[in-house]
Amino acid sequence: MKIVVTVKLVPDPNAEKRIDPQTKRLVRSGVETVLNPYDEYALEAGLQLKERAGGESRVTVFSMAPEPLKETLRKALAMGADDAAFLSDTALEGSDVWATAYAIAHALRKLDFDLLIVGGLTDDSSTGAVPGALAEHLGLPCVTNARKVEIAGEGLEVERETDAGYQTVRTPLPALLTTALTFGEPRYASLKGIMGAKKKTIASMSLADLTLEQPVGTSGSKTELRSFAPPAARGKGRTVEAADGLAGAQAIFDFLREKKLV
């Protein structure tokens, strides 16, 4: 089975983030770039399916990001991906969901795969619409939020999370899959994996390698960031040391009364 896993390179989710008031873009300097933590689950799913399918199976990771972030992909290669493809072009800067999905879909058409696994949510903007958009562009069945995947005949049987509980879905291949965090913890890169990753190929692509019919980047976007602001600051409230259970309960009860919440 030939598997492509798309990953996003994001600023460290544990770091405080800010936006440059001039460019209206995320300030990446001084903040370490990491593999989107959600996408590590997608990669784990890809690696497990590769192991189960056996034979000539392979996993390629794909990412679109500014050129200096390319080496961040070594982490995915160290975890066990066979190779990587990297789309980078300054003309992509400022792309919204529409333009991003459009460019990625065209880049993925250059790759050969039976299964495309996309990290469900992105940590830095939480849009969640990109997987669906990619499926439409590529004409693939779209099975999201998978927590269990079995190879079933020529296709897959997927147990997926829903807002109400879960579903079992059967899909033919090729298909697009996204993973839920309940799929299982991503593996750690072994020392051998880290050493081996240095020799693996990261193939670079730019927009010149793709055949785009529409503009991307800021001018090709269908939305426009008008303004941004930090949310109203939430000040530190009172702290009460409770001598015993009743005193603590009374302090909360009085506070809720005061706020008209009880």
Partner: protein, 324 residues
């Protein structure tokens, strides 16, 4: 964008509060855009739900009870929405920001060549342009994005963002024509878990527990009675969900749900960024923790340092007594 279309999510005709919030907001926005307010309801139970939706100020409700809608994974929904949007004409489409809502939105935007703004908490129209406000980077920023002038635009809406107000003269209910398509991804089994629980995202009060509770039992014996007394529901931190003390669909935070109740009570939760981003927009935040210096004190309105196992039962009693 002239008209407004809402996509109504439901199970066998059972829907959530967000549907009525969207119906109310659709009217307001349609009036500002000079167009009509439409709803699309699909699948088993659609006709019955459309009847209830008539109490809200919509102009037209488009209905299909096509069995393919529940037999296949979202493909028919996307087709029907495309058919409806094409028939209605240029419009702003409002979709609940839920797991399936995000999938529908991502696919529909390609069909309609539409821009999208996600996780929207406020929409307004200025000089005919639709502006959407949404929290970004886990609530560290609030952004306002314009949907550039185009035939179609999509906003996925965070539940609990708008009031739901009945009104209007009663919408016309019209059938939708079946798209001539065949579908690939078949739903073999559809299971409901935690049925009857007040949906976490829509609950007015959330009582959440974390690592400090030490196991699954206190969620039942300690938190649930307090949540019930307050008319709310129980949630959890990632640590509690990871430990298997509660199902993952109760997890609040970066990798779980985002909640905005009027009152949030955090019990035995330290308040890491992971958790904070899922609940910091709550109205009032109360924390109970044995460590007065826990990070959650920094963004709580009241921090009570003490033994939750003693405080919570007493608090439940005080609230029950006050209710009489």
């Amino acid at each position: 964008m002239k008209h407004v279309i809402i996509y109504v999510e439901h199970r066998q005709g059972e829907t959530r509060k967000v549907t009525f919030e969207l119906a109310t907001e659709a009217r307001r926005l349609a009036d500002q855009l000079g167009g009509e307010a439409h709803a699309v309801v699909l699948g088993a139970g659609a006709a019955e739900l459309a009847g209830r939706l008539k109490a809200y100020p919509l102009d037209t409700i488009h209905v299909s009870e096509d069995r393919d809608v529940d037999a296949f994974l979202l493909d028919p929904v996307v087709d029907y929405l495309q058919v409806a949007a094409t028939a209605i004409g240029p419009s702003l489409i409002l979709i609940p920001n839920t797991l399936s809502g995000r999938d529908v939105a991502g696919r529909l935007l390609v069909r309609l060549a539409a821009g999208i703004v996600a996780d929207v908490v406020e929409v307004r129209v200025e000089d005919g342009v639709v502006l959407c406000t949404s929290p970004k980077l886990g609530g560290a920023l609030t952004t306002t994005c314009a949907l550039r002038p185009a035939e179609y635009g999509i906003a996925t809406i965070r539940p609990n963002s708008f009031e739901a107000t009945p009104g209007g003269a009663g919408a016309a209910v019209v059938p939708l024509e079946k798209p001539a398509k065949s579908y690939a991804a078949a739903v073999e089994r559809d299971v409901e878990e935690g049925a009857g629980e007040l949906a976490l995202e829509e609950a007015p009060v959330v009582v959440a527990g974390g690592r400090g509770l030490g196991g699954p039992e206190p969620f039942e014996t300690l938190l649930k009675p307090l949540a019930q007394a307050l008319g709310g529901t129980v949630g959890a931190s990632r640590a509690a969900a990871d430990a298997g003390w509660v199902p993952y669909n109760l997890q609040i935070g970066q990798t779980g749900k985002t909640v905005t109740p009027k009152l949030y009570i955090a019990v035995g939760i330290s308040g890491a960024i992971q958790h904070k981003v899922g609940m910091r927009a709550s109205g009032t935040i109360v924390a109970i923790n044995k460590d007065p210096a826990a990070p959650i004190a920094e963004f709580s309105d009241l921090m009570v340092a003490g033994d939750a196992f003693r405080i919570v039962p007493e608090l439940t009693k005080l609230i029950e007594n006050a209710k009489g």
